[in-house]
Amino acid sequence: MTPKSEKLYSLAYLSEVIGDDTDVLNDLMKIFVDNTPNDLNDLNQAFQAGDLEKFAALAHKMKSSLATLRIDTLREIMLSIDKPYKAIEIKDQLPGIVAKINATLEVVFKQIKNDFKL
């Protein structure tokens, strides 16, 4: 379990892109916590159904947002599964990878909701 104090995400890059407009930052973080769980849910379902094409497409879609929020623990993982052929190559490791994604994002969602009072 990640220690409570360790932030799994960073706003460093996002702040470079949007500047110091806190309203925009709040809006963006709300969009992230509203939408990414749906993508994560779809990713889980695709994995359970063995649909690696859809699974890889969802990983591909999610990786840009996760990289923007500098969720570093998932950076390499998302890159390793963003194409069907890559996912097939490491098929045996996928259950562990999916669990890691779920666990990390669960913490990230909680941290963001808490930080931004969402």
């Binding site: 892109v17 949007i18 809006d27 969009i31 939408n35 990414t36 999610m62 947002s65 990289a67």
Partner: protein
Amino acid sequence: MNTFKVFIVEDDPFYGEMLKYHVSLNPDYSVEKFQTGKEFLNNLHRNPSVVSLDYSLPDMSGLDVLKKINAYNPEIPVIIVSGQEDVSTAVNLLKEGAYDYFVKNEETKDRIWNSLNKIREKLNLEKEIDSLKEEIGRKYVFGNIIKGNSPGIKKIFSLIEKAIQTNITVSITGETGTGKDLVAKAIHYNSPKANFPFIAINVSAIPKELIESEMFGYEKGAFTGANTRKIGKFEEAGKGTIFLDEIGEMDHQMQVKLLRVLQEKELNRVGGNEVVKVQSRVIIATNRNLAEEVKKGHFRQDLYYRLLGLNINLPPLRDRGNDILLLAKYFIDEFSKENDLPRKNLSQHAQEKLMNYDFPGNVRELKAIMELAVVMANREAIEDNDISLTSATRSANFLLDEEDTLDGYTKKIIKHYLEKHDNNILEVAKKLDIGKSTIYRMLKNKEL
């Protein structure tokens, strides 16, 4: 300035919103975001200035969307912003006409910003070029530029009309200062070639050892100092018009080379082997009598016939009757407007002085005379003493230039008056106090 409309197509709502906000930081941009290919294509008719397109969309690939944009309007620049790091995908998209391609990473914000700025700069330049072309086109509507109502100038208008309808080579002849360059421009800017370049070369102004490289270009290393390849004026003209002014001054050796280029419709740059197609129309001008130059052996006969094409022989100003006054008034108005001076009239005496002058420098000389007259005039009207003429007046010149018989002088006088009064026979008969039937008879017998 028109709104620069940026459409962002991005299926990730968070990433799309972030990009939208980032791009909107430029107050000149109006930004809209679409999450699917279909939603975007339904709005394509609203003609975005530029599209930022995610390669992987839920309902179709970026490549399909790109093709649809190109089919609708290939002028819309498309920037692909993709999570793909695959070089072959990027190459393929650029081949399909994408303006730029970059991978989503931490450089995205700067790259999209720079790319959009470059596109906007390019579009603004294109608009500027279009409006300048329009302006030039308007400027060279030949009725606006070649002023006159005399029968001689009306004939010129009719020949220009014929010249603009085809790509025939045009040779413009006439004394210095008659406006040969303006006729060349009027033909180009009113022809279907108007959107291509008009390139003028003054043959007499280029040293003979440089003219070949100037006209046909050269390759790197062709001669000492040729550090880079340079394209020549023919290539620069592309599908436009090349205007060879003062062609009569062309060196004999260069005439041979020009003839070959005109016959083959292709050229080699100096020091090169690459064959370059020549697609431009050729207009030439000279104040020499080229036929005479051919007789004297100064100008190649084969080149002469190749260049003759449609001949437009501009009349000297002294043969254009009342055009002298029309042009004088035009130059007064133009000069006064340019210099914020009150508009001045021409007194009767001043008009007579102009009408009796033979203008060896033609329209160019008249322009200079009138500009000086506007400066010199102290009153509302320009008087005859405000007009400084550089050579003797016509009354002294046109009769006494060469000895003639009394009959010859009579014909010269009648001809002169006819030109001066726009062939108005009744008026000329009245002025000279002779019977109008005398003039009719002389015209019928082709004595005038």
